[in-house]
């Protein structure tokens, strides 16, 4: 990969949905273009219904754009993506460690695994250690708290060593304290691993704290209002959130998101 080639670029992406009830067509995303460079943490914020999650599902290859396209790296070959869902959609019949190894098992099934069984086991346990779940490896999802389930969700996505980590409001269902704790964990872990992250949230504080850049979308039909840089190096300490710089960025983001001018 060349220095400048983005890892993923959305190029004039447009998305229409057909409502199954009335058959009417709804334009969710009008024209969205932005790019992620390798190692970058990019958040997308915007009012609800502006198609944030749809962008993420496009990046995962779960839905195609109506027009426009997504470019991966230098070519069009899709890289591996890890997906962290809003709800800890862990499989309740698998233990925590079995949930984390799900993606690796699939890879092994197809014999395109670069990991033998023992190495996969080691990888899973490194990740459990990284997210602080080592003691709970043999527990079932229902036996642990929502915050721990989201840690497992993160570990499961990281286990396949994705080129790109996609996160869909992963902390929105958690209580405030757990959310802040996991935000710190996430900034530490993704910085340590150098993971490229596309992060969807409706929480502008979360977006500003975690990201190198924040993409602000307008309300439906959405387009990019502005891409806001957050220059402070990552990982950031908790007290960055009370700095003057951070507050300036927050104010700017707040105005962008809440200004009625941008609803085209």
């Amino acid at each position: 990969m060349t220095e400048d080639a983005p890892l993923l670029a959305f190029a004039s992406v447009r998305k229409e949905f057909r409502l199954s009830s009335t058959g009417a067509t709804v334009l969710a995303i009008e024209d969205v273009s932005f790019a992620l460079r390798a190692g970058e943490f990019v958040s997308v914020v915007g009012p609800s219904g502006c198609g944030k999650t749809t962008l993420l599902r496009m990046a995962a290859g779960m839905v195609p754009p109506t027009t426009g396209n997504l470019r991966f790296g230098a070519g069009d070959q899709r890289g591996s993506t890890g997906f962290v869902f809003q709800y800890a959609s862990l499989f309740p019949w698998r233990t925590i460690e079995q949930n984390v190894s799900y993606g690796l098992e699939l890879a092994q099934n197809r014999r395109r695994a670069n990991l033998a069984g023992a190495a996969a086991h080691t990888r899973v346990h490194e990740l459990l250690d990284l997210v602080g779940l080592t003691d709970f490896a043999k527990f079932y999802p229902r036996e642990i708290s929502g915050g721990m389930q989201q840690r497992c969700n993160l570990a499961r996505a990281l286990a396949i060593q994705p080129e790109l980590l996609l996160m869909d409001e992963p902390f929105s269902a958690l209580d405030a304290q757990t959310r802040e704790e996991l935000q710190l964990e996430l900034t530490r872990i993704t910085s340590a691993l150098g993971t490229t992250v596309l992060f969807i949230t409706h929480d502008i504080r979360e977006a500003a704290f975690l990201s190198d850049r924040v993409v602000v979308l307008s309300s439906r039909p959405s387009h990019v209002v502005e891409v806001v840089d957050v220059p402070a190096p990552r990982p950031r300490a908790f007290d960055y959130q009370v700095s003057a710089e951070f507050n300036g960025i927050m104010r700017h983001l707040f105005e962008l998101v809440h200004s009625p001018v941008h609803s085209s």
Partner: protein, 279 residues
């Protein structure tokens, strides 16, 4: 990072240090077992006392003591064992064959909408059919022996297993489908790693419900013509007005049903240990 133990919702069963003070294994000390046993014992005592207190005719009702005595007598004669063996064989053949077919077809019904549309009218019609009215036909087709009785059991067992399995597939949490697709799960992997484990609790519910229905089928089959088996024992007892023997047959059938249902619960806990976590 420290994870406090407060984060963990430990299951209520199995916690505690007083376990060694008791000689009984933990399972036997569970409230379900203790209260259940007490309930049965007290019920039998009340039954026995009511019988003696009100001088009920032995034609109307048999007391537990007489039923127990008759049970021992019939066992010693060896006829009860024969009847139990015959009925067990009929039940096992019908139940196992029917369950296997019903699980496979139920999964297909749940997965494939077109197959569901084709099969639905038949499933609904046959499910609504009173099986009792079909029993004579099975006897005409298959004779008085093992096959006709197993077929009647199979018919009774089929629908609860089929319908619960299909329902389980259709109730699959859409989040699981999202996860599977995000990880690039193919159809075969999805079936074995997601669909089947997610459907397992529903399959077991169907299997448990089917036990009681299968036992009804067993007796119905015997009532329409038989020379041996527990249904025959009951039929014969009613014809000679021996209420005590009638109760022996009934109690044995009920006991068999309870044992099988409990066995299925144990198998489920072993096959899918995660289902017991939530209780």
């Amino acid at each position: 990072m420290a994870v406090s133990s407060n984060d963990v919702n430990l299951p209520a069963i199995g916690v505690g240090t007083q376990g060694r003070r008791f000689l009984l294994p933990r399972l036997l000390r569970s409230p379900a077992i203790v209260f259940g046993t007490a309930s049965v014992v007290i019920g039998l005592i009340l039954w026995e006392f009511a019988y003696r207190l009100f001088h009920v005719s032995p034609l109307v009702l048999a007391p537990p003591s007489a039923i127990a005595a008759e049970f021992v007598k019939l066992s010693q004669q060896g006829t009860l064992e024969t009847d139990i063996a015959v009925s067990t064989k009929q039940f096992a053949l019908g139940y196992v064959t029917s369950s296997v077919v019903a699980i496979v077809l139920g999964l297909l019904l749940g997965i494939n909408a077109r197959f569901r549309y084709v099969a639905n009218p038949w499933v609904q019609a046959l499910y609504a059919t009173p099986t009792v009215s079909l029993a004579p036909i099975f006897i005409i087709w298959l004779g008085f022996g093992l096959l006709s009785k197993a077929a009647i059991v199979a018919l009774m067992v089929f629908f609860p297993v089929l319908i619960n399995t299909a329902e389980g597939v259709r109730m699959l949490d859409p989040h699981y489908i999202d996860v599977a697709s995000a990880f690039g799960t193919n159809r075969r992997e999805f079936f074995w790693k997601v669909l089947l484990p997610a459907t397992q609790p529903h399959i077991f519910t169907g299997l448990r419900l089917a036990v009681a229905r299968g036992i009804v089928g067993l007796v119905v089959g015997d009532l329409f013509g038989s020379t041996e088996g527990l249904g025959y024992l009951i039929l014969n007892a009613s014809q000679i007005f021996n209420t005590t023997i009638l109760f022996v047959g009934t109690v044995v059938l009920a006991g068999g049903g309870v044992l099988l249902t409990e066995a299925l619960t144990l198998i489920e806990r072993w096959v899918s240990p995660w289902t017991r976590v939530s209780r």
